[in-house]
Symmetry: C2
Amino acid sequence: MRKEESHIVSSFDDELTRLNNIISQMGGLAESQLISAIRAISKRDSELAEQVIVSDLRIDKLEQEVQDFAVRVLALRQPMADDLRQVVTALKLSNDLERIGDLAKNIAKRAQVLNQMAPIRPVQVIPNMARLAQEIIKDVLDAYIENDAEKAQRVWARDQEVDDMYNSLFRELLTYMMEDPRNITASTHLLFIAKNIERIGDHATNIAETIYYRIKGEDLPVDGRPKNDAANFAVIEPNEAGE
Amino acid sequence: MRKEESHIVSSFDDELTRLNNIISQMGGLAESQLISAIRAISKRDSELAEQVIVSDLRIDKLEQEVQDFAVRVLALRQPMADDLRQVVTALKLSNDLERIGDLAKNIAKRAQVLNQMAPIRPVQVIPNMARLAQEIIKDVLDAYIENDAEKAQRVWARDQEVDDMYNSLFRELLTYMMEDPRNITASTHLLFIAKNIERIGDHATNIAETIYYRIKGEDLPVDGRPKNDAANFAVIEPNEAGE
């Protein structure tokens, strides 16, 4: 998809392709780690959670590989303009994907704790929220591979849905805790799990912004979608917490 | 402190100095943002919290400056070995410092919510925990400026204290929520604030590891201090939650 002048050293394109391949691989892993972490909650499968925790190392190693490789490319090839932007994009994307992997690992750790407790009702919202986050990761990676700025922009806008689900679940969990103190410990872990999924959505949003910038050379227009922080301002009183 | 061969282009050292200066500036800002965010909680000062939220932009801009500058240095100077490591170190450090700033901003946002509610007892632990995190940030920046691997290693070990405080506060907050449902909303926000401080400690730890690696050329020996995840495994039952 390279349009301008050919490079003095022809293998620069190969190097970019290799970077893109590692990024795609990281994205696929991050997506599947999230799916498995959520399944570990819904199926109450602590062994699966353990696998997620162990597998996170693979994403970490790929990030290191991207970093080492990108730095070498920058130092040896001195890319300029569009080429430079592609290498920097790979660096940023690998960082966000590594953090998505980390968050999936955190979810898996809390899944192991939740599985030791009696199941609680609000847990049912988690798979829906996670499915949305996972779709966003998948679509944003497609936008990356297809060099599609408009798709990146559409994906970016969808993060609002994840935030809305988080805000609604946050309130539900507070209410649920107030109903019965026996719900408090499990609800607290669920709260952190929901927060982790919300942050995964934020990283997917970062990725969409990075891709948009790489293709268009300008920032994604943000005025359409102000960041919704409603849950930070939630004040739920015990008397609202009826059956 | 540069010992090997002199550089072809003499201003490379100036460039490294400039990178180090921006990093130091970011570190100082991150530290003061944390101090202000915590003061906004203990003094119940929502205007101060607002200032922290607004000032976060300054840290973000410095990070962007480090990134742009480092990429330019890498592309134009093609640094190798120790020089290359110094530039990559600056990139990593700016990333961790930006995230510390972000976490301080999150704390400030929640401070504004807490200030709308009646004060709760466990809030008193927060300033102690934050002071420790702040000392760690300060010491790790000293280690960076002084090129002191041993100091970086000592700082790194101290993060355990932050984790211990977090784990103890986590349990206290669960108990406190169980005592009276009216405590639940404020306690939940406090839980996230404590988690943010704990994560600030983790980023300071990352910084210590990066510095150690830059100086020694090898990973910091980690066997002395396994990561303490105890709070992830906390199971507090309502019947433990007495006065």
